[in-house]
């Protein structure tokens, strides 16, 4: 009990004095997950919009598949990306395994289906409402998709933030493809796992607290955005 109390005190101390090691790890985490989520959004949002407005054979199975991909276990994604990037793998020549780039790839693979599937759902609801009106005004499929993306932008921000939260909180994939190398590929989640097993509770706890704060902050921002949007545009 006393140990835990002391660990908490020390953890808050580290956060308070912006401990260098702690700050480095948080910075790398945010950088990796932010880049991954930008990549995932650039792929996932157009994909979601296209699935919302296009009708083609095999669309329904594709949506089911995409929804299933949302539940991909991070370790499995890590394993697949590892196989892809390892020396003998098809993308081995890139030589990015055990670098932050590999972690970005893994997290982007993890988050893209989430953004695509959730945005498809949101955009399709809007499409149901808009379709006749937009077709009546002569909108092509492509410009209708753009209209949907713009008119749903606030809900989409919420979805992208959820994707960021998922990326930042995930441990299995970055552990496998990043290797948890100190000062190079050690992010919040992998550091927590390692430090806990080593018994360095203050650092683990400090990172844990920051991670929780981050997740709460993301959710708060998301709900504020949504509320403002509804108030402004109905």
């Amino acid at each position: 009990m006393n140990d835990v109390g002391r660990a908490f005190a020390e953890a808050f101390g580290m956060i308070g004095r912006l401990d260098a090691q702690l700050v480095d790890i948080v910075a790398l985490s945010v950088q990796v997950s932010l880049t991954a989520v930008v990549v995932a959004a650039l792929i996932g949002l157009p994909l979601g919009a296209a699935l919302a407005v296009e009708r083609f054979p095999g669309r329904q199975p594709l949506i089911v598949f995409l929804n299933a991909l949302m539940g991909l276990p991070p370790v499995v994604v890590g394993l697949l990306v590892y196989l892809l990037l390892s020396r003998a793998g098809p993308l081995g020549d890139l030589g990015i395994l055990f670098t932050p780039a590999a972690m970005i790839v893994a997290q982007a693979v993890l988050v893209t289906p989430i953004i695509a599937a959730l945005s498809r759902q949101t955009l399709e609801d809007t499409w149901t409402e808009y379709e006749e009106q937009l077709r009546s005004l002569g909108a092509s499929r492509a410009s209708a998709a753009l209209t949907l993306l713009w008119d749903s932008r606030f809900s989409l921000v919420t979805i992208v933030l959820a994707g960021f939260g998922r990326a930042a909180a995930e441990v299995g994939a970055v552990m496998i493809v990043g290797g948890n190398i100190e000062g190079v590929t050690r992010v919040m989640t992998t550091a927590i796992a390692l430090e806990t097993s080593k018994g360095d509770l203050p650092l683990a706890l400090g990172l844990g607290l920051i991670l929780i704060a981050l997740v709460i902050a993301l959710n708060a921002v998301a709900s504020v955005i949504k509320e403002l949007a509804v108030k402004r545009y109905g």
Partner: protein, 233 residues
């Protein structure tokens, strides 16, 4: 692009015939009111004419199919984009090829014409039902359509808003736009209409001038319809 000719147009969905061998010619000029009981197929007919639904069989021909679709439609429940009122009008204009500058000018003018200039920069979805309906009319009018389809344009409006909408429709007609509309308000059909197309169960039962239709309807269905809508006559 008028006249519009429909020959033996059928529309079926889920094995149910909704339009049954409709043959009709819609000419430029007179304001056409489509009347008929609920489920007669009025809305479906307008969607087919407007190109939103493809006939299952039969032919639909515009006189000239010259490039641009010079037609517009206002739906029973107006669909407003999550933008300001004026942005909704500009959106339609830009889609049909107007430059940004020209769109802004036209949008401003048309909002003034429907009495919404003070609401121009309010979010469209926050406007009242009557204002939204006027905005929908403005969005369609701005395009300068040759034909305007209106599906029950005053269906959930109070008498005041109904009057506003009716005078806007009259103004649109005065600028040379052909009006084709449905309504359940027979007084409105008399006020706004020149000719009546009467439908029942997917068929075109009767076509007559407004005067003739209300004075001496030819078909038993139309007689019964008028009687049930205006029981005191």
């Amino acid at each position: 692009m008028l006249p519009l000719e429909l020959r033996d147009v059928c529309y079926a969905a889920n094995g149910k015939v909704i339009l049954d061998r409709l043959t009709v010619r819609i000419d430029a000029g007179p304001r056409t009111m489509i009347l008929g009981p609920n489920g007669a197929g009025k809305s479906v007919l307008m969607r087919v004419c407007h190109g939103l639904l493809r006939p299952t069989s039969g032919a639909l021909r515009w006189c000239s199919s010259s490039g641009a679709r010079r037609q517009a439609m206002v739906f029973q429940r107006p669909v407003m984009l999550r933008r300001t009122a004026i942005a909704n009008v500009i959106y339609g204009l830009e889609l049909s090829g107007f430059s940004r500058r020209e769109s802004a000018l036209r949008a401003h003018d048309v909002l003034e014409a429907v009495g919404l200039e003070t609401a121009a920069h309010q979010p469209a979805r926050k406007l009242s039902g009557g204002e939204q309906q006027r905005l929908a009319l403005a969005r369609a009018w701005a395009l300068g359509p040759e034909v305007l389809f209106l599906d029950e344009p005053t269906a959930n409006l109070d008498p005041r808003s109904t009057r506003d909408v009716e005078s806007i429709i009259t103004a649109i007609h005065a600028t040379g736009t052909k009006i084709v509309m449905t309504t359940h308000n027979l007084g409105q059909a008399r006020r706004l209409g020149d000719e009546i197309l009467f439908m029942s169960e997917g068929r075109l039962v009767e076509r007559a001038s407004v005067d003739v239709f209300f004075r001496e309807p030819a078909s038993a269905e139309a007689k019964a319809f008028i009687k049930s809508e205006l029981p005191w006559q």
